[in-house]
Assembly symmetry: none
Homo-oligomer: 414 residues x 2
């Protein structure tokens, strides 16, 4: 049940790009019972690609390739796989038509090089690509299953889910990696480890656990391989103990993004929110509105990058800015109150901070962020000095603001 | 002058981790005249690692491994490389002592398993590790240079810089990769290829060119290896011809993000901008403010998610919204004018569109986006139907808006 992933593309061999597709491919393979034992990245060299595919055929039962299915000269995956498998490559007239129609529906004329994308390896099944012109291919050869998938994440993700996963699940025959995950906010990686290491080490090696510091949260993941019909009993027991040890520092056990949790809490309590963003300059509003349907609780916001805007649009008194500075608890609360009134929302959420690289002082260092939250009854603030460069501080500030809003929205403990 | 990178570690085969060391290793290798043509990730399997190293020895002149040099059972890099090279592994007593002292200086007693880290492949030079206990090794065998390096970024980075780069530079003898890059907006990948393929294919293989569709733009990169003192004459000639073929669809030739170009044009002409964002809900403001120092030309904005906000904060007449709908040329222009007045900026930039998944109609499909731009003299709009899901539409809408603003800011052609 060994799987291997081959990413194709010269850009993945530069200092600028990483193959990130392999992450969700790995997640899917594990769910279907396959363990990824090797990953490779090759460029547009037919010789290298052929060598890697030959080796893969000799040691893996599933091979997934991503990339190299485009219409240009350097898109060579189809041709190389056909050569290695010693099978002809044939132009599929129906596919040519489908690609031509796809172009036409967008008002473009198909360039003739795009025909190349309709070349199919003999015996391959076509995997439809609703998001692009390059179809995928599924091939069984020498006891190995190969899936040739496109490179762009927005094309490969839906194709993998809809066309490859069902095939993998059939092959996996019920073996699966049972997983439980926890996302924690408000504790450091070492604090999380100190609380849970005494617990999870007792379940090793049957259940393996990893702790990972991500932007704005700590991710904990425990997993156990189980055969069809088998229960992941140790995993469930461990998960219950972790749950108890971390309590409500866990904001989700389902990999749900924080903005969905917050959206759910807002919708459930029929409250609306408006944002005032200084240093984040829109990132908070963008994140809140990643949730489809967020327009029912998100009314809008103000990007109050300058002090004038803080005063004129968010009603922060000039004196408050002069006395405490734009990055202060007082201004964070005033911004929250001001944007709430301006938008007639139930809640105002404000972020003000020093993202850097310049602008820090000994008293107010780069990374200092205040979050203000107001509703009709009160205004509160939260302070944190966040690590990292300009972009990291801004991203973490958004997580910090959403985590604070989540706390604010949680019903009081009984 | 081909190089290959092998990352070792089971955690790099999970859905949570990527091998990021290869990025700076690649940068260094290119600087020293080596081209990375293959990257692999293997777990703690001796069989897989041996297979990959054997293949690498047959096709590359430099091999860098990272990871697997620790003291535990699953740290097998030293042993596997020794086996493949058929050279003995010998305990180096001086190294044992150095590791013991390192532990002692931190108040620890060295556990006996740590002795394993002092095992050296016959003929290898030791690469010191000031940040950890695992020393690296530099080996010449069968005409190939191998460097065994530790996995943790804080250990591998200084070791690579101080011990490996000087050796690579000597080997490279002044050879380097000359590069020219172009970023294009407003054309599809196939359109770009159709225009430039006849040109760049004529320079192959001496100059290699890749075309990559990124979110919102197409990236073109041409590169040519040159020896010490040599000029990249073909590359420069090709670049001039590409420049002519693509004209001002090229928005930068320096890998500069679009927001930097726009920032430069704004600062240069001493103009300021404010934004009105509907469907993008902050992403545009966030992107503009990624540029440090953007506060000199970015005044702020309004996230006008609801129609009320469009009217009350951005001064869009109610009748206009009723008559044309929020996603229309008229409203895009009115938003741009309104936000310009509200913020007293020289320019107003507005985005309104249907990001989906819901809300589309036959007449106004999901993906329809209008960008409005206003200054004191005029208001203009741009219309586009953008492909992709909710997030892709929003990201592309931001690029589309920035590209439109760039056009607006460009001095008229002479």
């Amino acid at each position: 049940m060994k799987a291997e992933i081959i990413a194709v593309g010269s850009e993945l061999l530069t200092p600028d790009y990483l193959d990130t597709n392999s992450l969700f491919l790995t997640r899917g393979l594990r769910e279907a019972g396959f363990e990824v034992h090797l990953k490779s990245v090759v460029g547009d060299s037919a010789e290298d690609m052929a060598a890697v595919i030959r080796s893969a055929l000799s040691r893996s039962s599933v091979i997934l390739t991503s990339g190299g299915l485009g219409p240009t000269e350097d898109d060579i995956t189809r041709r190389v796989v056909a050569e290695v498998l010693e099978r002809p490559l044939r132009l599929d007239p129906a596919l040519v038509e489908a690609i031509r129609e796809r172009f036409a529906s967008r008002g473009y004329t198909m360039a003739s090089i795009n025909e190349r994308q309709a070349e199919v390896i003999e015996g391959a099944e076509i995997l439809e690509n609703p998001r692009g012109t390059a179809p995928g291919q599924w091939i069984e050869a020498r006891g190995v299953r190969l899936a040739l998938l496109p490179g762009p994440p927005r094309e490969i993700e839906p194709m993998f889910e809809s066309a490859v996963m069902p095939r993998l699940r059939r092959l996996g025959a019920g073996r699966r990696l049972a997983e439980r995950s926890f996302r924690v906010i408000g504790l450091t990686e070492s604090e999380v480890d100190a609380r849970v290491a005494p617990i999870y080490t007792a379940y090793q090696p049957r259940v393996s656990t990893t702790i990972l510091a991500a932007a704005g949260h700590i991710a904990l993941r425990s997993s156990q391989w189980v055969a069809q019909g088998e229960q992941a009993r140790e995993l469930e027991e461990l998960a219950a103990r972790i749950d108890q040890a971390l309590g409500d520092a866990i904001y989700t056990t389902s990999d749900e993004p924080l903005e969905e949790i917050v959206g759910y809490l807002l919708a459930q309590s029929r409250r609306t929110v408006a944002v005032a963003e200084s240093c984040t300059a829109g990132l908070l509003g963008w994140r809140i509105t990643r949730v489809a349907g967020s327009s029912s609780y998100f009314l809008g916001g103000v990007l109050c990058y300058s002090n004038e805007v803080k005063t004129e649009l968010c009603g922060v008194p000039r004196e408050l800015l002069d006395q405490h500075g734009a990055v202060s608890a007082e201004v964070a609360e005033a911004l929250a109150r001001g944007v709430m009134r301006r938008f007639s929302s139930s809640i105002g959420l404000a972020v003000t901070g020093i993202a850097g690289p310049g602008g820090g002082t000994a008293e107010k260092p780069v990374g200092l962020v205040y979050v203000g939250i107001a509703d009709s009854g009160q205004a509160v603030h939260f302070r944190r000095v966040l690590p990292g460069d300009r972009e990291a501080v801004r991203e973490r500030a958004v997580f910090f603001a959403l985590a604070a809003l989540r706390r604010f929205l949680l019903p009081p403990a009984p």
